[in-house]
């Protein structure tokens, strides 16, 4: 469990994080969403006792951050994926994981088993003895994530786990995280990809210096940025739009660039009804997709259009 109480940190008089109040439950996968410079990394660094806070405090599994002897306890029960993988390039993946895990005081045979388990899960077991320098960016990131989980931490902090990865590598990293999610740890993920946290996290906080909104992805979507279904028709006629408008749950029905857009509270439930309605009206449907929001749009909404 993580709890922050008025947590703040400034650099050279400028606040990077200010009055942050969050609660993350045991076993929860929590996403901290915010643009570059929002203070996400600073938050993770404070929570993992890497840098000190300048205001407030926080508790990780009951231990107070940056206060000895609690800080050393926190470091030993926490796993961290920093912004950069930070692996030793000349050493092998196995050696890298073994070294860090040993620093956490994990005994040799237990270490070996856990590292093998993680490397097999990542499909890197066969290349375990090759120097990390020969690995692709995505592979390095996977090793770094494995490192964060290797000593069986109670709480894991992941700072932008898929940043800078190509879509393919992002996907494997996300799948890996999904697999690890089953282990029931508290996981705290920083990200500036709305999409990513929506898929991985039980709950999300949107932050810019301080928390702007907190809730489950669905709640937040409904409350702040809504969900929009996009329907592409073979030919778009006014009567089709009228047919959809007749459905009372469909709000803000409109066309953009020949596509039909409908805002919905619960698209999973409502999409089939809309499609039925359209088909009955004689429309032929090419695609049905969900409109992807960018983080920037979310911010505009949250901050009432004043930008950030």
């Amino acid at each position: 469990m993580i709890e922050t109480v008025g947590l703040g940190r400034s650099f050279n008089g400028k606040a990077a994080v200010e009055d942050l109040n969050l609660r993350v439950d045991q076993g929860e996968v929590f996403g901290l969403l915010g643009p570059n410079g929002a203070g996400k990394t600073t938050t993770i660094r404070m929570l993992s006792c890497l840098i000190k806070q300048s205001a407030g405090t926080a508790y990780v599994n009951g231990f107070e951050i940056n206060k000895e002897p609690d800080a050393e306890r926190i470091r030993s029960i926490v796993g961290v994926l920093p912004e950069a993988p930070g692996l030793y390039e000349s050493l092998s993946a196995y050696k890298n994981l073994d070294f860090f895990t040993q620093l956490y005081g994990v005994k040799k045979d237990k270490r070996g088993k856990r590292i093998e388990e993680l490397l097999r899960l990542l499909d890197l077991w066969d290349r375990r003895d090759e120097p990390v320098a020969t690995y692709s960016k995505g592979m390095k990131q996977k090793i770094a994530i494995a490192r964060a989980f290797a000593h069986d931490p109670e709480v894991v902090f992941l700072d932008e786990p898929t940043a800078g990865l190509d879509p393919q590598a992002s996907l494997t990293v996300r799948e890996f995280l999904m697999a690890l999610k089953k282990e029931g740890r508290t996981v705290f993920i920083n990200s500036h990809h709305l999409d990513e946290v929506e898929r991985l996290c039980d709950r999300i906080a949107v932050m810019n210096r301080t928390a702007l909104a907190v809730g489950s992805p669905k709640e937040l979507a409904r409350r702040y940025w809504g969900r929009t279904t996009v329907i592409e028709l073979v030919d778009s006629r006014p009567q089709y739009i009228e047919a959809v408008k007749r459905l009372e749950f469909a709000t803000n029905v409109r066309t953009e660039e020949g596509r039909l857009l409908v805002d919905l509270d619960d698209p999973e439930l409502r999409n089939p009804v809309i499609i039925d309605q359209l088909t009955r009206a004689g429309a032929r449907i090419e695609y049905v997709t969900e409109l992807k929001r960018t983080l920037e749009e979310v911010y505009m909404k949250l901050l009432g259009g004043e930008g950030r």
């Binding site: 840098i51 470091r75 920093p82 930070g86 000349s90 050493l91 050696k95 620093l103």
Partner: protein
Amino acid sequence: MRFDRALTVAKKDLAEFRKNKYVMITIVLMPLIVSIVLPMVYVVPINQLSRQSTSDLDLSFDDVSGYYEEVTVTNAIIYDAEFEDVSIESSILRGCIVRNSTVVNSSISESRIELGTVENTILTRCDLVDLTADVGNTVRECNYVGGNPELEKLQTVMFNVLLILIVMIPVTIPTVTASYSFVGEKVNKSLEPLLATPVTDFELLAGKAGSIFVISMGATWLSFIVAVVMVNILTEPTLGYYPLPNAYWLAGVLLLAPGMCFMSIMANVIISSRVNDVRVSQQIGGVLILPVLLFFFFSLTGMLPSEVLPMLVFSGMVFVADAAIFRLSMAVFEREEILVNWK
């Protein structure tokens, strides 16, 4: 302080050093040159100074024992005589006592030579007491009493130069290894995951500094032993005794070298916190050799005697500086400082 964690860090660093060809070249090549190649170069003049042997003797008459004062002896073969204030040239003497005299181009054995000057002469099994000059002689199994001034002067220079180079090993190896160890870790961005582990700042510094200290001093002491053996093997036949190690050398290698090694490591920690380039770090680190060079400059020019006492005093000064620089590097090597201010 958990020793096992410091040890884990040290072992990891050593594993990285093994994979780094620049580090390996420095660790292997530098001691090799200093301990094997340089002794060969440096002992040559020593041996030459001793080896310039006498010219062919043209002996025209034998002479007998007796007491001689203020005469000139040329082309003589003399046994069991005693000389005072004489000039001996191109002669062979055995079992004599020669006091306050000048000997040139001769061969003297089993004699005692006191307070004189001896040039281009073969000396075998003699007692040489307080000679004022001793130039170009071949000296075999002689016993110097009060010293051999010319040879000693040359030896002092040569051995000082060799000692400088040996003391440079523990200063230089850290500038290469520490720059990879600290700057490398910074450029690699591996300090952050390292600092996220329960390892304390001090354990981390101890592990990293310890691994560098061990390889630097290992290389230094190995070079020292090899250099001493080399010098002794190469000069003993002409000197008639083993010149090294003397107390001056031992103090240099056992006190000054580790003191400078520690200073070099700590200085490189501080430098590493401010630079992002291994080469820049090495260049700045090279400045550290200056105080050592200055000390040896005074020794070489004779402004400081090449004896134990100045070496002990200088080593003591280095230890004091070590303590100061250690406190400074502890302040620099601190989690918050590393993550926020190391650029």
